[in-house]
Amino acid sequence: MPQPVFIVEALTKVYRTGDVEVHALRGVDLEIDAGEFLVLLGPSGSGKSTLLNILGGLDHATAGRVLFRDAELTAFSERQLTLYRREHVGFVFQFYNLVPSLTARENVSLVTEIATDPMRPEEALERVGLGARLDHFPAQLSGGEQQRVAIARAIAKRPKVLFCDEPTGALDSKTGVRVLEALVKVNQDLGTTTAVITHNVAIGQIADRVVYFADGQVARVEENATRQVAAAISW
């Protein structure tokens, strides 16, 4: 029985803008196991990003608890959250968010310089198949390549968890598949717990479990008996 990395209990998030209250999360309960590959599906506005942002230490919950291993994440201070992100979390976003003035290798070094036990930047880039594009600036790379640099940057510090919010959202099918392959490979090689948000139902097939969101709650969770290889899917 694998240990859970995250235990989410009755997590609630309310956004207040003026008089309007938006209930982004309405009591989410979830456990995520170590080494698991999770896919989050659900309609727009159902709270997927909100959950991932809280798990990733980017946002505060309104009520409920999140336990990261033994620590209560929801009680962390701003400074502790920064440290938590720095040491344990890798992020990949829809809009790669690379530093334009740094090359691929340097964008990865940015993270390895502040991590405790990182891999070499070159190794991280090789893992995502970019060993040959080390010295290119983001502006000189395609969207898929930029996204893979972002993945390399996220995994270079050997994070415990990797959060990906629509990593293929801006990419075509073929490029998207290469990005997914990179994610699966990292998950298998390094045992990084990975959670991927997507609108693409097909992507659910490569996961251990698929969590369906609706209206700020977990509607249902499906377990895949067998995981598809990324190369086999398309959209």
Binding site: R79, R86, A139
Partner: protein
């Protein structure tokens, strides 16, 4: 209100801190312009009006004893409109309740009728009765310093006798707007007075019946001053004439002139600096605003707005900043200018002030400020006008960076340092101008604060290295040398050195100059003569030692031969070698060995003054004794002069430092704050991404602020350099025959200016850091820039 104008107001409000920072830089430019031009014109006009109404003379000359009939001959000189002869002498005063002796310059009032020239502006009381020997009108400042009113009395030692003088009036005079006592560098109204006494009384007191010692001349419009001076010199030559001179060499006039020159220099130098910096700030701010609104611009064009209308919208943004700047600067400049004019008015004892704040000053301010602002905004606005809508709707092409600072040759650099380096190199012009802006802030400080270093240097040189005596007694007339023994026997005198001053004309080729040559003992210990290397000069037995300024005028170097012609006693013309060039900052000086001078004069050894060192504990005894010494015409107390000087200086220092600090802070703050805000706007997304990756607030702030810190630190030495250069220009501009300004910039001045600049930069950085700390992490993830 149109939608675009509403957008304009919102933009101004949203960017209010930046807008205000830029407007303040402009305001500083406008304020200095309005202040300097306004105060200059007002003081110039005040002085002109004062001179005009109270008939300030154009040419002045002194003689030992010139017969009265010579006045008629002077009046005959072509170009002379009016002549007034007077007796002018110094005397020491004994003012009750003040132990140290004061010096009075006694000026005769005409025997018949009113003053023709240099008329008094009576403040209180009346002029002296021509028949009374004991009535005096004193300058108002002296009366105020002692609380004297008409009817009060004080004593003066006139012609060896202590006389009681009754103050019958107080007055101002165009001739003494700046009244300096002997050896003083600042007016000391307690120890120096001007007293106007009936001519008859002066004639008998100084044994000058039917003679005069001073002549003032008013010129006809268009007359040649030089020609008149030449003729007067010829006429007075036989009577101990000491060389006529024009207003520019008249102490009182020249000091105000120097102040006016400084105001004029301020009007020329400061506003352009501020406007240049403001133009640069507008340029970067508007360029960024336009870049952010690129898509909106495209949209508006697509909707059918004309390019000119959109361009005008951004120009209005620029104009609004300029208007804010002009209004703030105009008000501040007027207020400060009136204050400054009043301050000067008091300092220079003007009876009235003429304020000259014409509309044209403000018109100039508006034109140059709006002009500079438009110039700054032009490039950005032009890019708006040219941008085709289709292109505008697309995202801008990505910024290209260069692979400088790549791991290889500076491997030790962290990626954040690499980011800083690449960003600077990516926008070199902006980085360079940011640096220049900060440097200018420092330069303003260096170029203004150096004045105190120079003054400190001059006072140190004058009072501690050259003239180390405690007091200088000057006699009304040359005295036999044995008087030195008398002085040595006075209570409290530790040592005494003689000196003799003789009016001479010195020639080198066709260049000539009238000066007083001072004879000193061979190796003086108190009043020393230092050469340009600050080494004490032992007076050679023969030879002539002019000060640097005089040497420059004559074009002589050591070893050259000059011709010296005596203007007192029997006329002698002698050739002499120049044996040393003397360092001096005040006046035109020349020195000789006192024995050689006595031989030159072909009379018994004489002295005109004594320098002495005194026992401070017995100062009052000495003062009392000096007050009873008949021959003494004036007493200078060097240490008192220095004290007064430092006191006045300290007051000015505080005002000046705060004004210039304010100006420099406005620039440094404006530049650093705007540069930081624009960078934050450009790189906020990048910085937020780094925060997501686990970088701390401090680390992320460093990427942006580190760049500015680097530029600021690089700007400091540049500021020193620019400041030194401006100081050099200023020092050159202040050179006159009255004084030379050595260009001394102390380390402390460099350090102070840098600290002030750093302080302003740090404050603006902290303000921006608060914004960096509040960056929204999630927001950047949702959007593509």
């Amino acid at each position: 209100m149109s939608a675009l104008d509403r957008k304009l107001l919102r933009d101004l409000w949203r960017l209010r801190t930046q807008v205000l920072a830029i407007a303040m830089v402009m305001a500083a430019g406008v304020a200095t312009l309005v202040l300097a031009i306004g105060a200059y014109r007002s003081l110039d006009e005040t002085r002109e009006t004062y001179y005009e109404r109270y008939r300030f003379a154009d040419v002045f000359a002194q003689a030992t004893r010139a017969p009265d009939w010579l006045a008629a001959e002077i009046a005959e000189i072509p170009g002379v409109a009016a002549v007034e002869t007077r007796i002018v002498k110094t005397a020491i005063m004994d003012v009750a309740a003040m132990p140290e002796p004061a010096t009075a310059m006694l000026v005769s009032m005409p025997a018949i009728g009113e003053q023709v020239l240099n008329r008094l502006y009576m403040r209180q009381g009346r002029t002296p009765d021509p028949e009374r020997a004991d009535e005096v009108v004193v300058n108002e400042a002296f009366a105020k310093a002692h609380g004297f009113v008409p009817g009060d009395t004080f004593h003066a030692i006139i012609d060896g006798r202590k006389r009681e003088l009754v103050i019958v009036g107080t007055a101002l005079s165009p001739e003494f707007i700046y009244a300096l006592g002997p050896w003083d560098m600042m007016p000391d109204d307690r120890r120096f007075a001007v007293g106007w006494i009936a001519r008859k009384a002066m004639e008998s007191a100084f044994d000058l019946d039917g003679a005069f010692s001073d002549v003032s001349v008013k010129l006809l419009p268009g007359a040649s001053e030089a020609a008149v001076i030449e003729r007067i010199d010829t006429l007075l030559e036989r009577y101990g004439g000491r060389g006529a001179f024009g207003r520019k060499d008249k102490q009182s006039h020249a000091f105000l002139d120097a102040e006016l020159n400084q105001l004029a220099a301020m009007a020329r130098v400061l506003p352009p600096i501020f406007l240049f910096v403001a133009a640069f700030l507008i340029n970067i701010t508007l360029t960024r605003l336009v870049a952010l609104e690129r898509e909106q611009i495209g949209l508006m064009k697509a909707l059918g707005y004309r390019s000119s209308a959109i361009g005008a919208h951004y120009l209005k943004f620029v104009a609004a900043i300029a208007v804010i700047g002009v209004v703030i600067g105009g008000i501040a400049g007027t207020w400060l200018g009136f204050g400054l004019t009043r301050l000067y008015g008091g300092f220079f004892h003007f009876p009235f002030l003429v304020f000259q704040w014409g509309a044209d000053i403000y018109a100039i301010a508006v034109v140059v400020t709006v002009g500079a602002a438009m110039l700054g905004g032009l490039r950005a606005v032009w890019s708006v006008v040219r941008l085709p809508p289709a292109v505008a709707m697309h995202a801008a092409a990505p910024v290209r960076y260069h692979k400088l600072f790549a791991g290889g040759w500076l491997g030790g650099l962290s990626q954040t340092s690499v980011m800083i380096g690449r960003h600077i190199l990516r926008y070199p012009v902006r980085a360079g101008l940011t640096m220049l802006g900060v440097a200018l802030s420092g330069a303003i400080l260096v170029a203004s604060l150096f004045a105190f270093d120079s003054i400190e240097f001059v006072t140190d040189f004058t009072y501690y290295r050259a003239d180390r005596q405690d007091a200088t007694l000057e006699f009304t007339d040359a005295q036999p040398a044995r008087i030195l023994n008398e002085v040595r026997r006075l209570p409290g005198v530790l040592s005494a050195e003689p000196m003799r001053a003789v009016a001479i004309k010195v020639r080198h080729g066709h260049l000539e100059r009238r000066v007083a040559v001072v004879g000193k003992p061979r190796g003086p210990d108190l009043s020393r003569v230092l050469d340009t290397q600050f080494v004490p000069v032992a007076m050679p037995e023969t030879g002539f030692a002019p000060s640097e300024a005089l040497a420059d005028i004559l074009g002589v170097r050591v070893g050259d031969i000059v011709q010296v012609e005596t203007l007192e006693g029997r006329k002698r013309i002698v050739d002499m070698p120049v044996t040393a060039i003397i360092q001096s900052y005040l006046g035109l000086l020349a020195f000789m060995d006192i024995d050689a001078l006595n031989r030159l004069m072909r009379d018994a050894p004489m002295v005109t003054g004594v320098n002495l060192a005194m026992d401070a504990g017995r100062a009052n005894d000495l003062f009392a004794a000096v007050k009873d010494m008949p021959a003494v015409g004036s007493v200078a107390l060097q240490k008192k002069s220095l004290e007064k000087f430092k006191e006045t200086l300290a007051e000015n220092l505080a005002i000046m430092v705060s004004v210039y600090t304010g100006l420099a802070v406005v620039i440094a703050f404006g530049v650093v704050y705007n540069a930081a805000r624009i960078q934050l706007s450009e790189r906020g997304r990048e910085l937020a991404s780094l925060r997501v990756l686990g970088f701390t607030r401090a680390e992320v702030s460093w990427i942006l602020l580190g760049e500015l810190a680097l530029l600021t630190i690089l700007a400091l030495p540049l500021g020193w350099f620019l400041g030194y250069w401006v100081a050099w220009i200023a020092a050159q501009g202040l050179q006159s025959e009255l004084y030379r300004v050595p260009l001394i910039v102390s380390r402390q001045t460099y350090a102070t200016s840098s600290l002030i600049v750093l302080g302003a930069a740090i404050v603006s950085a902290l303000l921006v850091k608060r914004r960096i700390d509040r960056l929204d992490l999630i927001d950047v993830l949702k959007t593509r820039e």
